[in-house]
């Protein structure tokens, strides 16, 4: 083997130093522009950060594909629904008139909404695809009020970076960044295909996030918390999904 020359040694050293400081600078810039996901640590952290950063850079305010009415799936698949318990049944018996959505955290006016309150807000609809991480999908019409309307009404503070949302089912909670929270297709959904949203599909209230996989569209939403950091929620990984081994950002 040929001996390593001093020039090679110096060049290699300089390249290594430049590379390391380049990576450190890239990390700082990524953090500053909100390109680092809460589950950025561990063996898969590098891949997750690249994925999240790349998607945030390419998507901007892009809209999930909307489909013609003729493409609505005649037999959508609701997926498994775990038993919801007696309290849910009581609410269901009262046609969900006592269902409450609490909005708290970094908002000027913490508010509790009833479904009637939400129905009185601007009503939008979209025909989009639900895509499960398992591989299956269906297209449905979703009717509700954009999350951004609720955030405007409650006065989300400018330093807000995430909206955490919690299901009636105790272990199911998620969060999205403000790019998705303020996205015009992110709906607090109460209707599906011209009827009320069936319980199997998340009724009475489901947060639809059509630019991400189905598990981010949490069913039976009862609380929204606006925050600037996910550190103090659960294990600090952003949502229940990473705690169960699934990525926080589910854009892919």
């Amino acid at each position: 083997m040929k001996p390593i020359s001093r020039r090679t040694l110096i060049a290699t050293g300089l390249t290594a130093v430049a590379g390391a400081s380049g990576l450190a600078a890239a990390g700082r810039i990524a953090r500053r522009y909100g390109l680092v996901p809460p589950d950025c640590r561990g063996v898969y952290g590098a891949g997750e950060t690249l994925t999240y950063a790349a998607h945030r850079l390419i998507t901007g305010n892009s809209m999930a594909r909307e489909f013609p009415r003729s493409m609505i799936s005649p037999k959508p698949f609701m997926n498994e629904v775990y038993p919801l318990g007696d309290n849910f049944k009581k609410l269901q018996a009262g046609a969900f008139s006592d269902w409450k959505l609490t909005v708290d955290g970094m908002v000027a006016h913490p508010t509790t909404f009833s479904l009637a309150d939400l129905r009185s807000m601007p009503r939008h609809s979209q025909i989009t695809e639900v895509v499960c991480e398992e591989g299956w999908s269906y297209v449905a019409e979703w009717i509700g009020t954009p999350l951004s309307e609720v955030l405007r009404e409650t006065g989300a503070l400018p330093q807000a970076r995430y909206v955490a949302y919690f299901s009636f089912q105790p272990d199911w909670w998620e969060s999205i960044d403000m790019a998705d929270a303020n996205h015009p297709q992110t709906f607090l959904t109460m209707g599906m295909n011209d009827g009320d949203l069936p319980v199997g599909f998340g009724g009475p209230l489901r947060l639809r996030v059509p630019r991400q996989l189905g598990y981010k569209s949490v069913k039976y939403v009862t609380r929204l918390t606006v925050t600037d950091s996910m550190k103090h929620f659960g294990k600090g990984l952003g949502s229940a999904s990473p705690e169960g081994g699934y990525a926080w950002f589910a854009g892919i």
Binding site: T59, R65, F77, G135, Y138, G244
Partner: protein, 241 residues
């Protein structure tokens, strides 16, 4: 001094590709196990008729498979590792592609040479393979017509397509570039194509390894790792005599 069989760039990117490809294959299989049914068009789920079903048990009890048991759920780490490996593959491919364009590796080593650009030249080499004619001395340092065309096809057609059909499964990517998934005929069509392209790459992988085994496995491995190839043993013996 003898020039290396493969440049440092080719050797490093080759092995990074092997590592990420194997990781993608294993994790991809794990992801398929959660829904071993394939469809054509935009949508597909257990309430719809599949194009075909792989006869394996699923890792989800919502999928009717005909088996009475459910496989363990490995999708979490599989999905994390699938996308991390995909990044390694894509970044490796970009570096390899950019440098190979600039330093003439594609032009010199992979683009068929003037006498190799006909169908006849390819058929002739296939015939030689079938008759097991030993390669001529020019093939010790250069690729033949069939190798060049195959490598170019894998690099410029198969890998880009498998990456593109994979991206077309992402609802976020599809919001930014909807024409890709629409051009592929819908998301479930893209998933089915992703599956078959994977098998095509596996076929290439198997043939590639068999050819290497036939032509001297360890010598080829050394060539792709250290860049040096010792002369074939039979040549050494002849020269020794």
């Amino acid at each position: 001094m003898e020039a290396p069989r493969h440049t440092l760039l080719v050797r490093v990117t080759h092995w990074l590709t092997v590592i990420s490809f194997v990781a993608l294959l294993v994790t991809g299989f794990e992801i398929v196990v959660s829904h071993p049914r394939f469809y054509w068009g935009e949508t597909g789920n257990v309430n719809m008729k599949p194009l075909f079903t792989i006869p394996i048990p699923s890792s989800r009890d919502t999928v009717p498979t005909g088996y009475s048991y459910v496989m363990p759920d490995q999708n979490g780490w599989s999905r994390y590792l699938h996308f991390e490996s995909a990044w390694v593959l894509v970044l490796t491919g970009l570096v390899y592609g950019a440098v190979s364009l600039l330093n003439g590796h594609f032009r010199r080593n992979l683009f068929p040479e003037p006498g190799q650009r006909t169908l006849g030249a390819h058929l002739k080499r296939i015939g030689q393979y079938l008759r097991r004619t030993p390669p001529g001395p020019e093939e010790a340092t250069s690729y033949n017509a069939l190798q060049r065309t195959t490598y170019l096809f894998v690099i410029f057609v198969m890998f880009p397509l498998v990456i593109l059909t994979g991206l077309a499964l992402s609802p976020s990517f599809n919001s930014a570039f909807p024409f890709v998934v629409n051009l592929l005929g819908g998301r479930q069509s893209a998933r089915t194509m992703h599956f078959f392209l994977t098998w095509a790459l596996v076929l290439f992988f198997v043939v590639h390894v068999v050819m290497i085994a036939v032509s001297g496995f360890w010598r080829r491995m050394r060539g792709m790792t250290t860049g040096r190839t010792d002369p074939a043993p039979e040549l050494v013996m002849k020269e020794g005599v």
